[in-house]
Subunit: 512 residues, 2 copies
């Protein structure tokens, strides 16, 4: 910075105590990760286009420096030293050592060559996917997909697994959860969802024509900000900006930012994206102060993360109670567009269920079926049961069976998602797991806060946020997803609660 002098600064200390040394190494890795998050956030939100090339090098360097600190042999030595001390195996320090051991062993198991190969193939695969999707040409993407599947099989072999290679891949995003467990709950989920979708399909579609009016972006921003702040998001510790795809990112333990996107013709999209990302941000900001700056200070799994965003977005944000409070305000901002739109009509419009081709545009009921399809297909791709040549056929067949619609082209079918092109297999299921966890948590929340919906109808969310902080957020990675759901509900992950919620909301004439 011109006009200022640089103040050179000392390194984080690494004293003689092995626990302190391990914590210092972990702390440096987290500082590097957060620094990388600042660079990535800037890239998506404000970076000038010509900066893209050097930014990639900056990010690669920070990631590699963090990775060195997480996978250094010294970490292994320190962990072995500390294993002997029984006093350290409990409480926060016990969790710290558990997660540190887990992350260290995983990083040691994967050879650097494979890490590099995966990163490079994913980066080029993503470019190939963009081109293939644009050209609606599956064959263009096929060789990349084949290679990425091969590399993921190799990755699974190095990481190790109990029953199936897919276990190892799933475990990257949903730690301590097995394929068999997910397959079981998804099986029940599918059985419960298909008849519900069919039942809804037999009825006339809800009217949402009033949502297709033009809603100027300034007003949408205003409303989204008001809702986001009301839910408990604090602008002293975050920001709302716009980007091509909405996301939440942690730039520091007291700096968790969200982005959204506004489209004049899709008013509900920007608003519900904001609520969704607010849910993610509240989770990260709610992690206990005692975990700040350590690897424990983040969401415990992507499924639990998604439970937070989806509970706020769908279960609370698309409820009658919620809109009994916010519709009058929205009608103040958009008086012409919402003239004569009753609460009931609005509620039904934002909850319209319609089987469709694109996952990210799917409603709350059909969404999980899109995910189940991908979960089934990617297991078959990894096991080799499904050759890459047969994937488009299997995709279309699955869409027909699960949703009753069939894509006319690759771009709105098998080529619609970025995940596989990035080499991310095992990621998709976490989206639907989020729905299941959210429903289970909501049921516990209703049990603990009998006046829940009356509060929501008054626009009061502090009791909900307080409950979530107490039960979920503050624990960070000190509880696995499974431990969390057991602690809160007394039972395991279970799809019946989500199904009850959906049937209750969509089958009967009066939901919430």
């Amino acid at each position: 910075m011109i006009g200022e002098t640089n103040s050179p600064c000392a390194r984080a200390g690494s004293p003689g105590d092995p626990l302190e040394e391990l914590k210092a190494l972990d702390r440096e890795a987290r500082l590097l990760e957060h620094s990388g998050a600042v660079l990535s956030w800037d890239q998506e939100v404000y970076m000038p286009p010509a900066a893209v090339e050097e930014r990639a090098d900056q990010l690669a360097l920070l990631q590699s420096l963090a990775h060195q600190r997480d996978s250094s042999p010294r970490v292994g030595e320190l962990l072995d030293l500390l294993q002997a001390e029984s006093s350290l195996q409990e409480g926060v320090e016990g969790f710290f050592l558990r997660e540190k051991r887990r992350s260290y062993e995983r990083s040691c198991r994967v050879p650097e060559r494979l890490v590099r190969d995966l990163a490079q193939t994913a980066s080029r695969g993503q470019n190939a996917w963009v081109a293939a999707r644009k050209a609606n040409d599956y064959d263009q993407f096929k060789p990349w997909l084949e290679r990425l599947i091969e590399l993921n099989r190799e990755l699974a072999d190095h990481l190790g697994y109990r029953e199936t290679p897919y276990d190892a891949l799933l475990d990257q995003y949903e730690p301590y959860t097995s394929t068999a467990e997910v397959a079981e709950v998804f099986g029940t989920l599918k059985e419960g969802l298909i008849p519900l979708v069919q039942k809804i399909a037999s009825r006339p579609l809800a009217d949402h024509s009033f949502l297709r009016h033009s809603f100027p972006v300034e007003g949408q921003k205003q409303l989204s900000q008001e809702v986001m702040l009301a839910l408990g998001y604090d602008l002293d510790q975050g920001r709302l900006d716009c980007s091509a795809h909405p996301f939440t990112t942690t730039l520091g333990s007291r700096d968790v930012r969200i982005t959204t996107r506004f489209n004049e013709k899709l008013v509900e999209s920007g608003l519900f994206s904001t609520i969704h990302e607010t849910g993610h941000a509240l989770y990260e900001l709610g992690v206990g102060e005692d975990l700040a700056g350590t690897l424990l200070a983040e969401g415990t799994s992507l499924g639990i993360h998604e439970s937070q965003s989806r509970m706020w977005e769908n279960m609370i944000g698309r409820s009658r109670a919620f809109w009994s409070h916010w519709l009058p305000r929205m009608a103040e901002i958009f008086p012409d567009q919402l003239e004569g739109v009753s609460l009931e009509r609005f509620y039904r419009g934002i909850n319209r269920v319609e089987p469709s081709l694109i996952r990210v545009e799917a409603d709350e009921v059909t969404y999980s079926l899109h995910v189940i399809l991908r979960f089934e297909l990617e297991q078959a791709l990894i096991s080799g049961d499904l050759p890459v040549d047969d994937l488009p056929g299997a995709w279309n067949q699955g869409m027909k069976e699960l949703l009753g619609v069939v894509p006319r082209d690759y771009s709105s079918g098998v080529l619609q998602d970025v995940h596989w092109s990035m080499g991310a297999f095992g990621y998709f299921p976490t989206y639907a797991l989020g729905n299941l966890y959210a429903a289970q948590f909501l049921k516990a929340l209703e049990r603990d806060l009998p006046a829940l919906w009356e509060g929501i109808a008054r626009g009061e969310y502090a009791p909900i946020l307080g409950w979530l902080r107490q039960k979920v957020h503050r624990h960070g990675k000190c509880r696995s997803a499974g431990e969390l759901v057991r602690e809160i509900t007394g039972g395991p992950l279970d799809s019946s609660v989500f199904l009850e919620y959906l049937w209750g909301k969509y089958d009967e004439e009066q939901g919430r």
Copy 2:
């Protein structure tokens, strides 16, 4: 980032070739510096307030990792290895080795303890200064100033110097320039400026009442953007944002951003700050592609940097020719405020000379006298000739002699600048050196581009930018300030050209 997978990445390679290894180490340090610049930029422009604590740790870590790469014993070994190869002593590689050696030796000479002590004292000293300035209480700041002077003396002893400890301090900001050289040109400068200031003071003050109207910020932004883009700043490689203090910062070789600040009641402040920072940014963006990503890819000294910003801001931006083009546009944006304001009246208003107390608000004529005062005082503080107790008196005495005005309090006197509180001694002179270099460059520019002022009057700046890139920018640190001025003008640093420029502009009835 939630919703994306991390792609782990390989380290920058460090092959067997010592030059390649040295370049790779240098490249990593520059990537870390630029990453730090992203974090600092964000901190000044968009960071939420609660993030400040962890951000300091992130920045300290990145600085320390860059410093490790610049001062590692391996750098010394590689430099020694490469010294023997005569083929490497010329061209870009020769400059690279020269500057690498310089930076390595400087960093080795200063013990880590002192670096840390200086950084910590500066950080706390700055807080003490903020409080002292607010309370108008010099005594509160005195112990910090004493300690910072002591540490700077120690620093100078470690860095080494030819004639006076101040040489070593000055050399941090204006490399290869001696105190004696600066003292000599400042001596002539002072002799030439004082009578000019007195002569101007004997005439009535120019009217600038029309600049004190209210100019809405949106219009100021619009005008500043238009001017900045017209000068050749490219938004593909930069941004304009607002911050408490205007600055320019390099976040990547193709990412140089500027900030400014707008005040409804000070229309010229935001506009001329933008032009000033644009001058800095054009310099950094003009460094040759062959130097990109190395330690050679930045301004060669703060004095030369300041020559670029001040030439655009004052010599071009406050000329009649410049405003013969822009005043009509400005009057379109602000028709009421500028109604009936002639070019001549506007020109005289923005060039009003009036001895005043505050350096950063000083006009082009009196500005250098503020700097000369600081230069003289800080030499005396470092040598010990001036005890800290006597500084306020010496300050007021100097103001009286040089400018004929005396501060009524510490806050608008000795406590006005942040620099000493940050431990930055030797920095001030670069501001006035910038004026001298700018005038010398402008004279060469007039020689090489006879139609210079006609082009400026048409709003055409490409020939100027082309000339600056060719003569100054592309060289980065491959020329010292002294080498540059000799190459361009045939002579050494010299204050007479700046004095001619000022007398020509301010003494005669018709300037440009």
